[in-house]
Amino acid sequence: MKALLAIWRRVRTSHAAMVSGGILVGIFVIAIVGPVVSPNDYLQTNFDKMLSPPGIAQLQIFGTDDLGRDLFVRSMLGVQVTIVIAIVASFVSLVIGVAYGAIAGYMGGRVDAIMMRFVDTLYALPFIFFVILLMVAFERNFLLIFVAIGAINWLDMARIVRGQTLSLREREFVQAARLTGVSTLRIIFRHIAPNLIGVVIVYVTLTIPQAILVESFLSFLGLGIQEPQTSLGALVDAGVNQTEGASWMLLIPAALLAIILLCFNFLGDAMRDVFDARDER
């Protein structure tokens, strides 16, 4: 609790973290509360009000799409999906990647060689075919997208963490711990992992936008979220077909996507400074 408070106190000193974090929290809150409060429903088609521009009538502030569905509610739904995917995918890649990389790096020798060759093999699989195969083999499934993105992202993380671990392993405080009899697992998770935080935070901030982009890309190709569910990527895809006459269908979800990506990038940059204990005076 005390540690959390200390981190919070340091986060507060960073303007970039506060502003971008604030914007993200704001968007998330609206994304969760908005669809509940709004009188409109994401499924409800209305052929009388197809492609109506943003306005305050019926609280359709983002307008409607080509089936007359409320774009605000659908966009917020898309943000929800985007957030869930971003968080779950980067959490999966964080946990698997850090553990895998730290173990391979610390064990070294043959263990390291075998573990990293496995990573190389996975790298060699072409990602898009892999996803299409998954989609074909199983039903199109929300969960599959997490699996696909997580399964790809942890590879980079594992490589980066392993490289850092290789150099940390030779540091004297690790040798001191070995001498004292600290168990290998404890060395990896208490001595090595905390010192990886700088790199890991930076890398996670790269994977979150990356995961969001990958999801959008899949949805844009029609391989991701399926109608009537939606995501920002799917909304952009729909918007592209309506650029003439209903440009808001493209601009609004695209702008949301861009803002979220930018904020995550700024936030990550600031978090790296915050999490580095060496800066604490």
Binding site: R171, A176, R178, T180, R278, E280
Partner: protein, 584 residues
């Protein structure tokens, strides 16, 4: 007019004054020593003179070189001055030389850049300069990259690059701190010999270096000048209390103050240890070749030797941090095998290690309380949180740190404090053997004294055995009962303190002793009696490994490795061990 005139120089960073109201002058051709502990503003002064301070620094006062004001001078004017009038030699030549450019080309560039020579003459001039700094086979060195040279050769090349423009002022910032003692002696002699009428400002923490090589000296404390005068008079009659304490803390070879008490039973025994590192695609490197080491209760044994002599590999193998190819280790009669992870837990708490770099040996992400408590967590898991904290606080108090340090992170500690924490962590389980690997090498004189006292107290209190690894013979003189000298992975001499420092039997030991700078201008020591540097362990010389550098070498030395001999109670590996005294 003085060559360099510094008046009321102040260098500030925000509210902190790194240099405060400093005034001094240097005459043409003079050698002046600038001494002080770390943080006393020595390097800041040098950087201010050279105009190399970072933009965040605020300066005041005046620095005149031959009448030209340097503070506030334009970068263009400074560049011209830096090339022709002043030059600097840094501590680490590897950092100062460009790793991608051949050494000769780097030197030539200086001449060409400042239009001091055309291409043809530059080549000849560089070769001549390389020869003057004593580099062998200059044509080859001209074409060498910095990483292909040894540390001593690199520093020679650095000096060559500083002197090639024949500056009027040479600033040397700790030029030999990163070098072995025999190489240090060579470099200092070289500096004195070839600078001709170039004035020298020698920045150092080592009073022995100043005593041997400077006519005058300046003593800095906290950015202010506390004393200046001729070297003789300052050493003989220091006026300021800080100078006296620096002099008192300077280790000397003629003083030993070792706790008495007869050493007890054998605690740690290493027999015939061999350590080999596999080199990719090349022959293996034999770092340690069959070394014995025995430590008794309440005894301090020092292991000395230049870098690359295998002293660190020896103890790391004994500890099980690196694999040992051959030999056996016994702790109180219990045979220890394999790496440290494979050894019984109970034996692991009995041997602890303190490292050279105090900051690097503490996990930067852990607070002091957790660092010191970790051994307890492992070996006394039944201890409650409160009891553990009590033991940690008591241990910290023993090493001279109050409870307020419990919540600090390592980067919030000074070097000395961090080393105290490292010692607290090592001693909290009451080990039988403490290994100090260059544990005081990175510390200032007064702090070093405190740490050494701490170790002595721990020894008298609990009968701790200490293996003290050091390249610094004056520290070894002050702390050890017995001394083992290593050269290229083998023991060359093993004797008790008095006998080794009073009457060394091996020519290598003698050369080491003669090379140690003594803080006394009357007999300054620091003599370079050895040529060259320790050869590569990948390609060791035949016979006695020391013969290529040995002033007494005979034919037999290159043909046959000398066996172990006992002379006056000392173990010596030299064909002429007993006869050396008469030969002098």
């Amino acid at each position: 007019m003085s060559l360099l005139q510094v008046d009321a120089l102040t260098v500030r960073y925000g509210d902190v004054a790194a240099v405060n109201d400093l005034s001094f002058s240097i005459e043409r051709g003079e050698s002046v020593g600038l001494v002080g502990e770390s943080g006393s503003g020595k390097t800041q002064t040098a950087m201010a003179i050279l105009g190399l301070l970072p933009p965040t620094a605020r300066t005041n006062g005046s620095i005149r070189l031959g009448g030209t004001e340097l503070l506030g001078a334009s970068e263009k004017n400074l560049n011209a001055l830096r090339a022709r009038k002043m030059a600097i030699v840094f501590q680490d030549p590897m950092q100062a030389l460009n790793p991608f450019v051949r050494v000769g080309a780097q030197l030539g560039r200086i001449l060409l850049q400042h239009k001091l020579a055309d291409r043809k003459r530059a080549y000849a001039q560089v070769l001549e300069m390389l020869e003057r700094v004593g580099l062998p086979d200059v044509e080859r060195q001209y074409a060498a990259y910095p990483h292909q040279m040894s540390g001593g050769m690199r520093q020679r090349a650095m000096i060559a690059s500083a002197l090639i423009t024949e500056p009027e002022l040479l600033i040397a910032d700790e030029p030999t701190t990163a070098l072995d003692v025999t190489v240090q002696a060579q470099i200092l002699e070289l500096l004195a010999e070839i600078r001709r009428d170039t004035a020298l400002l020698l920045i150092t923490h080592d009073l022995g270096v100043v005593a041997g090589h400077c006519e005058r000296m300046l003593v800095l404390e906290g950015g202010a000048l506390v004393e200046q005068g001729t070297t003789q008079s300052v050493f003989a009659h220091p006026q300021h209390a800080h100078t006296s304490s620096l002099l008192a803390a300077a280790p000397r070879l003629d003083r030993a103050d070792i706790p008495g008490g007869a050493p007890g039973d054998v605690v740690l025994q290493v027999e015939n240890a061999a350590v080999t590192y596999a080199m990719q695609g090349r022959e293996a490197l034999h770092a340690v070749r069959g070394v014995d080491l025995t430590v008794r209760e309440s005894e301090t044994i020092a292991v000395v030797g230049e870098s690359g002599s295998g002293k660190s590999s020896l103890v790391r193998a004994a500890l099980g941090l690196v694999p040992m190819q051959a030999g056996r280790v016994a702790l109180c009669g219990v045979h220890l095998q394999g790496l440290v992870e494979e050894r019984p837990k109970a034996t692991r708490r009995s041997v602890q290690l303190v490292f050279q770099d105090p900051a690097g040996s503490l996990n930067p992400q852990m607070r002091v309380a957790k660092i010191v408590a970790e051994p307890l967590r492992v070996h006394k898991p039944t201890l409650g949180e409160l009891q553990r904290l009590e033991s940690v606080t008591a241990m910290l108090e023993k090493v001279g740190l109050s409870a307020e340090y419990l919540d600090r992170y390592p980067h919030q500690l000074s070097g000395g404090q961090a080393q105290r924490v490292a010692i607290a962590r090592a001693l909290i389980l009451k080990p039988k053997v403490l290994i100090c690997d260059e544990a005081v090498a990175a510390l200032d004189g007064t702090v070093r004294e405190q740490i050494l006292k701490l170790l002595r107290d721990a020894q008298t209190e609990s009968g701790l055995s200490i293996i003290f690894i050091s390249h610094d013979l004056s520290v070894v003189r002050a702390v050890s009962h017995r001394v083992m000298v290593m050269y290229m992975g083998a023991t060359v001499e093993l004797a008790d303190n008095e006998s080794l420092f009073g009457n060394a039997k091996h020519p290598y030991t003698r050369a080491l002793l003669e090379a140690v700078p003594v803080p006394d201008p009357e007999h300054a020591g620091g003599k370079a009696t050895l040529d060259g540097e320790i050869p590569s362990a990948l390609n060791p010389p035949s016979g006695c490994a020391f013969h290529p550098r040995c002033p007494y070498a005979q034919e037999i030395c290159s043909a046959e490795a000398p066996g172990e001999r006992t002379v006056d109670g000392a173990l010596v590996k030299c064909h002429f061990a007993g006869e050396l005294l008469e030969r002098r």
